[in-house]
């Protein structure tokens, strides 16, 4: 969220709405929520090497593996 708060005025206004919706659809999956918030803030900033960032973020937030066991 820190990144998002630093963004321009309108972006923060719009992203609040987007964030709320993403959170709602994550159904309390904290890892998923954090992953989405992180990549959203990166997209809002717009200046990034997305591939590296997404991969790095995925590795950081995927922690809770048990959730995905069959």
């Amino acid at each position: 969220m820190q990144n998002i708060e630093c963004c321009d005025k309108m972006a923060s206004t719009s992203t609040i709405r987007i964030l709320e919706d993403l959170r709602k659809n994550c159904q309390e999956d904290k890892n998923l929520q954090l992953f989405l918030e992180a990549i959203l803030s990166e997209e809002i900033k717009g200046k990034h090497r997305w591939r590296e960032y997404y991969k790095k973020t995925l590795d950081e937030f995927i922690g809770d593996w048990d959730r995905y066991e069959d």
Binding site: M10, A11, S14, I16, N25, N31, L36, I39, L58, I62
Partner: protein, 661 residues
């Protein structure tokens, strides 16, 4: 406040222009002096109104979208290849700066957008120096100057270029909105202002991330790699189909708009093609009638010629038959056999009763014989003529009947000919009041776009069916891929990553859909509310609808779509309502500047339309650029007490001068 949370309430406080195009140095302030934040600039065509619009665009985006018209006009007049941006009539070595500044007021703070170019007076085609900055207060209230990307970022916060046409536009855009706007453009604008673009990017990048992870997974076994390749191949096909569906939808949209545009043009026009078809048939019919009349007349001549002698003899024949008839009445016919009387006289005995003739009888018989002898000669001549004369008479009667028949046919055909001729004249008169060639062209164009629309609808059906099959195959391959990963213990982590990112992708897609729908529904509700609030005569309209492609529609009280029935004024009002709704819902409560707002509206509705500005400007700044013709007495009276301030552009010696009214 908007759907997304916070709103931006801003207004233009001042615009400063120096040496731009035909301007020397002017400063226009726009203070809110009344309940209505409404400001006028009045100027004749060519006085600098469009230059003013361009100056604002140039200051913010370094573009001059309305320049073409002005330039081409001047090109033909002055024969110049390109007109420099700087005012060629005022520039000199001491006055070689071109500056446009926009002072924006946002919550009692000023933000100044400043763009400058410096020219060498010997070469005015290109500036020798450029400058752009935004002067903005920081958190502590101190001023700071932002340049380059930082300055452009501020511009995009306040006036995103993608939707600049919804802030600064000429009246023509209002009028032609339904013809020029395509769903792709509108969606793009909505995506930009609602930051749905960010979600779109997230979606694209997440999909690519999944592909990357799947590639890693393919390294675990040949079987996994084989399924992955199949997946990739299928995905390429699916992307291709999706692209084609998008293109087809765009084409369909354009064709639908074009059909609607020509339908609207043809709404109050005569169906000339149909009339011409009718005319062609009537002319053909008339031609046939003419030939038939000629044929009948030839036939009549032939009958007359054939019966010329009969006609000459007809009176004699008639006379002879009358004579025979008379003779018959007089019992002269059939002629008495004289020999019988002579025999009776000779034997002095009657052959009929057998009695002898007395003197008196004998005398009478002798007298009778004398009389018979005197007439029987002519009667005997007449008797054999009767049969041929009757035959001849029948022939004459037949001829008369034939002649009557043919005369009747000629008469009827002439009447038909005259009737067809009068119909042709009526259609010609009717067509005379229309620009037939243009209307025919419109018909052809409409038919052409109807065909394109129908072809695209068929293509779309095929493509969507293919897409469905490919999606089913995608699901099947995904399951196969997941199963293959599951069966390979080394690929466990990769499998979990794919599951995780797929889950993220689904959330992104759901959120994107939600936000798009909510934004559209809110804009639709607001457009509907504003349109019916501002509409001077609700007429028979029930509601405004906005479909998922942001196509505006109007529903009649009898539940059919009736956008084409709207007058020019109502159409402009609908687009204005949509624009205002877009501003409100998106949070961009920006000022609106419209060049020639009522030029395309009929006199009857100008006052009505102008009235709507009074309502709107209680909450929003509007700057209108009128021509003196548009600024009629009625409009002047209406606004006199409500307008905050009025300026006038006057062209004096090729320079636009500013006057305060």
């Amino acid at each position: 406040m908007n759907l997304l949370g916070i709103g931006i309430d801003m207004r233009i406080e001042k615009i400063y222009i120096k040496n731009y195009s035909r301007f020397n140095e002017i400063e226009l302030s726009f203070p809110k002096n009344s309940d209505n934040d409404l400001h006028f600039i009045i100027g004749k065509n060519g006085s600098g109104k469009t230059d003013f619009l361009n100056a604002i665009n140039w200051c913010l985006y370094e573009t001059e979208p309305h320049k073409t018209k002005r330039k081409s006009k001047l090109d033909s007049k002055d024969g110049r290849e390109k007109l420099p941006r700087i005012n060629v009539y005022t520039v000199d070595s001491d006055n070689n700066n071109l500056i446009v500044e926009i002072w924006l007021e946002d919550n009692n703070e000023y933000i100044i957008f400043h763009r400058k170019e410096v020219y060498d007076v010997k070469n005015l085609s290109h500036p020798i120096e450029k400058e752009f900055y935004v002067d903005i207060p920081d958190e502590k209230g101190n001023r700071k100057i932002l340049t380059d990307d930082d300055a452009n970022l501020v511009v995009s916060q306040y006036f995103p270029e993608a939707i600049s046409e919804y802030f600064f536009f000429d009246g023509e855009r209002l009028d032609r909105y339904f013809q020029i706007a395509t769903s792709k453009d509108i969606n793009h604008e909505i995506f930009t202002i609602s930051y749905i673009n960010a979600l779109e990017q997230m979606k694209d990048h997440t999909e690519l991330l999944i592909k990357d992870i799947e590639k890693e997974g393919g390294k675990f076994s040949a079987n996994i790699e084989e399924i992955r390749e199949k997946q990739e191949e299928n995905l390429t096909k699916l992307e291709d189909i999706s692209e084609r569906i998008e293109e087809t939808n765009e084409q369909l949209e354009i064709a639908k708009k074009k059909v609607s545009e020509y339908h609207s043009l043809l709404k109050n026009q005569l169906d000339v093609s149909e009339k011409e078809k009718e005319l062609k048939q009537l002319k053909l019919h008339r031609e046939k009638k003419e030939e038939l009349i000629k044929e009948y007349e030839t036939k009549k001549r032939r009958i007359l010629f054939k019966n010329t002698i009969n006609m000459g003899l007809w009176h004699s024949c008639k006379h002879s038959l009358n004579l025979i008839e008379e003779k018959r009445k007089n019992l002269e016919l059939p002629p008495v056999e004289e020999e019988i009387i002579e025999k009776v006289l000779k034997h002095e005995n009657c052959d009929i009763c057998g009695n002898p003739l007395d003197k008196t009888s004998k005398k009478r018989m002798s007298l009778l014989l004398e009389q018979f002898k005197s007439t029987s000669k002519s009667v005997k001549l007449l008797e054999p003529m009767e049969k041929p004369l009757n035959k001849f008479n029948l022939k004459i009667n037949d001829f008369k009947e034939n002649l009557d028949d043919i005369n009747n046919l000629i008469k009827d055909s002439n009447n038909d000919y005259d009737f067809i001729d009068s119909q042709i004249s009526a259609i010609n008169n009717e067509l005379g009041g229309y620009n037939v060639e243009e209307i025919k062209k419109w018909h052809l164009e409409r038919n052409k776009f109807e065909k394109i629309r129908d072809q695209n609808l068929i293509s779309l059906g095929h493509l969507e069916s293919n897409e469905k099959s490919l999606k089913q195959k995608k699901e099947k391959l995904e399951k196969e891929f997941d199963q293959a990963l599951k069966e390979n213990k080394k690929a466990n982590e990769t499998r979990k990553k794919i599951q995780f990112v797929n889950k993220a992708l689904n959330v992104i897609l759901t959120s994107k859909e939600n936000i798009m729908n909510e934004t559209r529904i809110e804009i639709g509700k607001e457009t509907n509310k504003l349109f019916f609030e501002l509409l001077w005569d609700e007429g028979n309209y029930k509601k405004i609808i906005i479909d998922k492609n942001y196509n505006l529609g109007v529903i009649h009280e009898h539940d059919y779509e009736c956008l084409d029935d709207l007058s020019a004024a109502q159409r402009e009002l609908l687009v204005l309502s949509f624009t205002l709704a877009l501003h409100k819902i998106s949070g961009y409560e920006a000022p609106i500047l419209i060049d020639t707002p009522v030029a395309r509206i009929s006199d009857d509705n100008r006052t009505n339309f102008a009235n709507t500005f009074l309502d709107v400007t209680k909450n929003k700044q509007i700057i209108l650029l009128f021509t003196p013709n548009e600024y009629s007495i009625e409009i002047k009276d209406l606004f006199e007490d409500n307008v905050s301030n009025k300026y006038e552009f006057k062209k004096i010696d090729k320079i636009t001068e500013l006057g305060v009214l």
